[in-house]
Subunit: 400 residues, 2 copies
């Protein structure tokens, strides 16, 4: 009834839990209780409705509600028990000989306020504190198993993008073109769901917009926004027909078996002006600069400053990563099970680049009323520096 | 730069805010502060990053961060001011002559715990309480303007489903078929994003599965689950090829300009057994029974009981709305800007049916290891009873 392919191996789950346990002391938590989908998948191998209890030392316990049998088939956590209601958890922990935690770490960055208040009542002898930072630090460093899936996601992204030129024609509405690209992505095994962690974020596939509509800013923590199909969605593809001689941006993360390869490419119907070509070359140059500088030990804030300085030298100070108040203060971000993972290659951040990180770099230029160019690739940090997951042509791809 | 089509009219925004204001007394709140996307769109007309302050009496104030100009262009709220950080809100309110609220209502069912704790510090002279129930009650009754958009969503859903038979062929993997259906939906203007409110819910388009994989249960509060593309997503379409002589279920909400028409239809390649045909007829009969009974004043809990009793009489007690622990205790739900709106046509609920509600009924039979049949339509409650938004053939649609 449940497919066993794609199951996260037991050794993988064990090392992930070990790494979180080794940080729970620093977090001041006697135990962690994991409920959010991306975290639950990472530490247990299932996204079914379940609570994963991880004590500072000793074995974890997965308490699953719906669907219990599915969670049991998918998860490599050794001990799995049924759960009807979160109210039973303290009793289940007692029955399984876990001491009552004085401090219980939860994902307070994503858990709802009402659930937080419920858990405070349920664990009335415990202090509930936020361990989301420690969970994100654990997830920041990818294992060889994860890197293998990320590479596959990148290969599939290349295959997706290779098919895009034949879908583009002058006059096709952005949202119709988006549908064609999305159908090909699905055929290649894209899971659909693109998870983001930041509260209030929304993401459907990604951003596919052409000409001026690509430069319309939105609420999203992203250099681009897009008209969208209306104010109810407020970002990404809209009904505007793709024109000739304007940059068409496709920023579509490919999500394969949970993992996200994020990349952007630019296409154009017919010729495109030298101004756009120069702008595109500038972004490729900045990406190359950061790719070379982002060796283990480099500071992410310094990488950000380096990119901003070079954009200014090239004459793009007012358009790099957004224009006016729409500008974002980062040039890249981690990816993995979520699109907005650690580290953020952002202004003032001190995190050093480390082996095993998975980093999307996305230097972009936004010209209000005109359009967007730029590039984006996701990379794995190796001892020798950044290894990109995607190889598709980074110049503006002309379609006739 | 910003399209003005699709803007929510000023009179519409005004009556929505009036209706919430008239409930804030019952809620015990001096004011409400709205931040979640669906609620923000409902009460302001924009989903840009903003806070909408609604005092118990008097004019609302929209404080917008990113993108401010876009929010100002999209919203019909009269007073709109810039906001850099939520910490400025008390000062901005003071400057705009609002008295400090003793009690401030927020959306604690969806707001994150960390944000809730932040707002407690920001509003240190106020008690923050949950007004999500009152917001949902306000949104439960649709205006003629909303009903107009919902009808359009239903018409587009019919157009989408009319195109599905030509996409189905034996051997096509579920996820590839899903991509074709999704591409047509996008061409018709489907916005992509399908919003759900319940914490921990995830929804990508909907559920499209065939034969046994349709009957695989998942975490979702839904009668169906689906294999999915792997355990990382754990629901909906997977890689299994569609077979002959088995029910293919397409439960794809159509989302147009924010509003959701939810419907399900069953297709089959080649002949389908009498057993399946009888089961499908039974679900159509139960839908018809509930459609007739669901007149203004009827209790939703009694409608649920009526459906369950009739399913048992027809011999389907063990398969109605799920099998075993995968069963859900509802036969329908409200829709609107979110897929899981009030009212829930659920066991034990007392809400009376009322004019202006928008209700999806979804009687379904789940046979583990075999498949799923059933139907679903979204309806507007009129003084004369339920008016369905969709008309596409409800029998099993044979494709050869």
């Amino acid at each position: 009834m449940y497919r066993s392919d794609g199951k996260v191996p037991e050794a993988e789950i064990k090392q992930r839990i070990d790494r979180l346990q080794s940080q729970l002391g620093d977090a001041g938590a006697d135990a962690a209780l994991i409920v959010q989908k991306a975290d639950l998948y990472y530490f247990s191998g299932t996204v079914q409705d379940a609570h994963l209890y991880i004590p500072r030392e000793g074995k974890p316990l997965l308490m699953a509600r719906k669907a219990l049998e599915r969670a049991a088939a998918e998860s490599s956590v050794g001990d799995i028990v049924p759960l009807k209601s979160a109210r039973q958890i303290p009793e289940i922990l007692k029955r399984n000989a876990y001491p009552t935690p004085k401090t219980l770490g939860m994902e307070l960055d994503v858990l709802s306020a009402n659930l937080y208040l419920d858990y405070q009542r349920i664990f009335d002898g415990s202090v509930i504190l936020d361990v989301s930072r420690f969970i994100r630090l654990t997830r920041m460093i990818k294992s060889p198993y994860e890197i293998g899936i990320l590479r596959e996601a990148g290969r599939k992204a290349d295959e997706l993008y290779a098919g895009i030129p034949s879908m583009i024609r002058e006059g096709i509405p952005e949202v119709e073109l988006a549908g064609l690209v999305e159908a090909r992505a699905r055929k290649l095994g894209h899971q659909g769901t693109v998870r983001m962690r930041l509260w209030g974020s929304e993401m459907f596939f990604g951003h596919l917009m052409a000409g001026p509509s690509a430069a319309v800013p939105s609420f999203l923590a992203s250099p681009t926004g897009g008209e969208g199909t209306g104010p109810a969605v407020g970002q990404s593809a809209g009904f505007r027909p793709v024109g000739r001689n304007e940059p068409i941006m496709v920023d579509y993360p490919f999500v394969y078996q949970g993992y996200i390869s994020d990349q952007t490419r630019i296409f154009a119907v017919g010729a495109i002006s030298d101004e756009w070509l120069r702008a595109q070359e500038a972004m490729i140059e900045i990406q190359s600069l950061i790719q070379k500088a982002a060796r283990p030990g480099a500071s992410v804030g310094e990488l950000y400053d380096m990119a901003v300085a070079r954009a200014a030298e090239l004459g793009y100070a007012d358009h790099f990563m957004g224009a006016g108040p729409g500008r974002v203060r980062f040039i890249g971000h981690g990816t993995g099970l979520e699109l907005d993972e650690y580290p953020f290659i952002a202004k003032g951040r001190k995190t050093p680049i480390a082996e095993g990180m998975c980093i999307a770099l996305e230097p972009k230029l936004i010209f209000p009323g005109k359009g967007v160019v730029g590039t984006e690739n996701t990379h794995i940090v190796t001892p020798d520096g950044l290894m990109p997951l995607t190889t598709f042509n980074e110049g503006i791809v002309r379609v006739d």
